[in-house]
Symmetry: C2
Subunit: 106 residues, 2 copies
């Protein structure tokens, strides 16, 4: 059987908004958080700093309703398409990726 956690207990999960196709965040999942995600239809992650499971939107109400989950050819990364309620970022931006490092032609 497929074991996504064979190489590592934690794997990155890319969250892409299903409506806009915007990549809104990357979180880490362990087996327990993936199981909770599949059971509840909302994203659960494992916080490396707090060392605990967390349900995205739990405090903010900005849940992510999961539409699909794909894994990559190495089976060590997840791509989750979800309906982002409100904003993904705690700063109030829709996406956590709002800081520009480089843009071609600038």
């Amino acid at each position: 059987m497929l074991n996504l956690f064979e190489k590592s207990d934690l794997i990155p999960a890319i969250i892409q908004d299903a409506n806009t196709n915007e990549v809104v965040m990357l979180g880490y999942m362990n087996e327990a958080s993936l199981k909770l995600t599949l059971e509840t239809g909302r994203t659960w992650f494992y916080s490396r700093s707090r060392q605990q499971l967390w349900n995205k939107g739990e405090t903010s109400g900005h849940f992510q309703n999961v539409k699909s989950i794909y894994y990559d050819c190495d089976a060590d990364t997840l791509l989750i398409k979800a309906e982002q309620i409100g904003n993904a970022c705690h700063t109030g931006e829709f996406s956590c990726f709002h800081n520009k490092l480089y843009e071609s032609g600038e």
Copy 2:
């Protein structure tokens, strides 16, 4: 000055095709590979298994021409929009995320 490699020598870089907005792969970058990416306008990664820098497309010709680079609110993940030449995946699929784990309503 911003140090993306303060917490870790390697950070994940999400590659999103600039034309289709499809997420095509996730690779890891260290400071040297990010520098090469910025200098050449094509993606360079650090291979954790081979423990060396690699230029995506070097052998296949399937280069990724970088359009923009953003970092997230934690400054520990990159989102790179690039023009994907050919296919991102070594299997011949356009995206490395072609294996379905879950789809809502199925």
